[in-house]
Symmetry: D2
Subunit: 323 residues, 4 copies
């Protein structure tokens, strides 16, 4: 019998993709979808192509606990922590897509707000699968990394002990900004436009800071580009390593990874659209290492990685439901 | 009486914009438009919205010399040099949009091909107006910089003596790849895609290498983004200068420039679409200088700057026809 | 001395274009721009590329009357009528972009809401320039037609006495939905999507109903397409007229019109982008007349036509500031 | 053991999707992919996200016959017929995506060219599954309908005996124009553009003419819109039937169809992207029946429907591999 899984917050883009993936998962069964403002509507009315023929419910931890052994929570930061807490108290394993459990408390409260469930931080594992696979396997609460962090950290991970200086210039599709209608996400604002934002500091930088060695000097600048889904992190690294050593590190780290492709050509976001893959190209030009990593921000950058983590947490093959 | 000007190669994107600008120019009169494969067709059939009601002619230097005192040449590299030579021999002042006269011979032949008119290289001036205004004013032959080079050099120029290390991550719209139909410019290839290309070395890097101090260490990586017109150069600079000194250099260099805006917010390509402006934002974050420069690749990055240069060469106010 | 003109509601898309056109108009001077929620901000901060270096003011009819002889009002329907009334009371000539003065009272109140200034309806002229030029010339209050109505009526006008049956299938860019951020205008909703809406009845149909002969049977269905600006009306007409008679009517009606092009090929919205032109293609296939009309919804479909009308009202050449 | 299936012409958009679908099909096994100009390259180099890890071969009917019981042929018209013939001679069941077997010989040679294998026309079945399911089940050769024809015929089929007059205004994404790079498919030509084409007669009209009752008066006009995949057919029908009778016909015809959704709201192309579904909305407004049908032109309009037909031909459940 498949494991029941709920998606809490299934009306946003990330939660909707989580529901879509779970609907077709061979070992997990989607047993509940919840939403805040859209409760009462059908999921397939909001997202016809995902074909999740279920009604969005109000969040009720008890009702979910009756039907689900685990949950993916896709609420905004701040709102996620209380929901996660309620589900954990009822014994559910949880993957949280928000920032609420990604950072240590000090970092969280510096970049975000007061933490609503700090007592859970100890058990939370940072869910970058390729970096923390074994911890995730044994975890009850996993914090799925931010989309930018996922691409940047996968790009840099094999070199993490050798990073003298790093520039991450990242380009994200608009779904990364969420489903809320704002001036920023208006079609007319986005179309024919490319623009950096939060140059002085984007919250995902806190994850890089936490995951990379303390002494790493890095700059991270996100850009918005007129695509729906997709994220490209272009990383420029100064290192003392020689070219062959660099390439060996990447091959060693990634050649057996099921969701990472080391590509001969610079990856395009379209190469990984609606897949859980991260496609990485490494080159060394004029002594600088250039690492280009493309993901789908809603899949490997959010819901796909969440299911990848959930597979591990529930003892299923890591790739199930994601190919 | 207005000065007659011809556009040689007016069927490509850059040449077409040059014709569109000249059509409305108060002191210059567009007297001839030529094309290679499209000769015989009307310009406003190819580009209805530019409303240039003229027939594209075969290139004939004598016929042009009868009607024009100057020309903008918008041929591909290699094809431009012979046309420029023929026009210069007939006494016309020329702004060339190709790479043929941008580089010294050694650099040109390393990055491009054998030079067809090396005897003209001595008189050619690199047409980055804000950097070489006085030389342009007296020149008979000006080489308009590449679109990437224009944005990157304008971003870096005030700091050029203080650049220890530079990363230029540039994003260009598809018109920068020219009007030729290729797999790369196919709508289906471009849409929902962001991709780096020529990571190992793009020809415009030769211009940066030539214009920046020899000791500058720089990396330049171009990306293709799904917009028609527009180019954003995101520049990451390591320098010994302090923040205030950096900002002073930019204000000093640019506050009186008619086509440069120092913006309080990161510029979007849409802010400068179909204008000759370069919009620049400078910030210093964690000791790194981040300079973001947005242009329209066909205007300030090609035809607009060509007219700006031509205005100077012919003694007209620099901004005429460009506001 | 140029005539002072105010744009009331210059922060929306239509009003912003009106301001941009007036800024460069040789005989009209933009003397005030107002906004409701954006008052206090600079116009060129909201719309850098339009380069209107003015601060948006709160609406104050007296203050405007001191500086302006005429106004373009670009408020939503309902909000427009009181502003128009206040300006008319102070003697200003007004072109209103809303629906408030396009329809007779009965039609207005059936399709929209209670009318706030019915006493002005008598003096209001429907501002489809090519259809009502002489009335507009003498008018003090002109109601600029809706964008859909402009394209459809220009497509059908020469045949208006011979329309047995008409289908208008119209496709509009997203700026037609206004600057308000909604789920409908979110980039992710629009991109890769084409969709009909208001199939049961769109308000612009009321204008067609009013302007076309009463006995004309017509169906009008609007569609949203992923472009910023542009509108194509594809009209399918059953008529008793023969092909040559049809073509003669179009040539007779339009060959001297300064802003209408009779095109040999089906027009694309890109052919007229950021122009005040309407490009029309007429063909007769299998006994059906197919008329395709492309406009820029913010220019000929709103602000451009408003200036065209204003030129007439103020005694200037009709095309001034619009080429 | 799964049935081996080859895709002949797997480097074009339609063939590539066929290969992608078959790769994941539970009962069919993709055993060969061929290409003309791209033979020797890997499929997943051309289309990384489809993850077909196979090398494109030259077409060799004998080699294919050893590995496959059936084939999907995705060549251009004219080139398809000889390949189909070679495969049929070796006993393979074939679904052909080209026009070569859709029409009777007279129609084909009027709209296309001389037929290369007229002797096969008798056995060919027109593969609009919902209309010809039983014939397809017993067929050895099925001609998959054109993308426009699929959407238009599915929109009209329940009413086909009651169509007095029909206008089909269809909007297609760019992948419908094929992978060949042309001026028409250039990103800069497509972006910000909506345009009708082949107003005087598009070849898919021949399929409508053949499939609809002879006396039906219809007009079909295709438009190109800036999306990658998707097709919307907006159909305007004059009929003598009353509203309830119309709706009953649609419900009766489609409520049990596995790939047709009768939608309460006008369908968007994005609702069916990368699905084999046709989403249809029917309304009756002012006595006119408006039927809106959205499909993915590469799925239900090409490769998806081909697999749907192949499932029937090979005795598998119709929906296998397509959900």
């Amino acid at each position: 019998m498949p494991d029941g899984v709920a998606v809490v917050g299934a009306s946003g883009y990330g939660g909707a993709v989580a529901a879509a993936i779970l609907r077709r998962h061979p070992s997990l069964e989607l047993t509940a979808v919840t939403a805040r403002s859209d409760a009462g509507r059908r999921h397939d009315e909001l997202y016809p192509r995902y074909r999740v023929a279920m009604t969005l419910e109000e969040f009720d931890a008890d009702a979910i606990a009756e039907r689900a052994r685990a949950a993916i929570v896709a609420y905004p930061h701040g709102a996620a922590a209380p929901a996660v807490k309620a589900l954990r108290e009822r014994g559910l394993k949880v993957v949280d897509l928000s920032a609420d459990f990604r950072l240590d408390r000090e970092r969280y409260e510096r970049w975000y707000t007061q933490h609503e469930a700090p007592e859970l931080l100890d058990e939370a594992v940072y869910g970058l699968t390729e970096a923390h696979r074994e911890e995730i396997r044994g975890a009850d609460l996993v914090a799925a990394p931010g989309c930018y962090s996922t691409a940047a950290l996968l790009a840099l991970w094999p070199l993490r002990e050798h990073l003298d200086d790093v520039v991450v210039d990242a380009k994200s599709g608009v779904s990364g900004a969420g489903r809320e209608a704002t001036q920023t996400t208006h079609f007319v604002s986005v179309s024919e436009n490319v623009q950096a934002y939060k140059v002085e500091g984007h919250r995902h930088a806190a994850e890089l800071e936490q995951e990379l060695p303390e002494e790493t000097r890095f700059t991270f600048v996100p850009h918005l580009v007129p695509i729906e889904q997709g994220l490209l992190a272009s990383c420029y690294v100064t290192t003392k390593l020689e070219r062959d050593a660099v390439l060996d590190l990447y091959r060693g780290a990634y050649e057996d990874e099921p969701f990472i492709d080391l590509a001969d050509e610079p990856p395009g976001t379209d190469d990984v659209r609606e897949t859980n893959r991260c496609r990485i190209h490494v080159s060394v030009v004029g002594g600088r290492v250039i690492v280009l990593a493309a993901i789908d921000n809603l899949w490997k950058g959010a819901a796909g990685q969440a299911v990848q983590d959930l597979n591990l947490m529930l003892g299923h093959p890591e790739t199930e439901g994601l190919e």
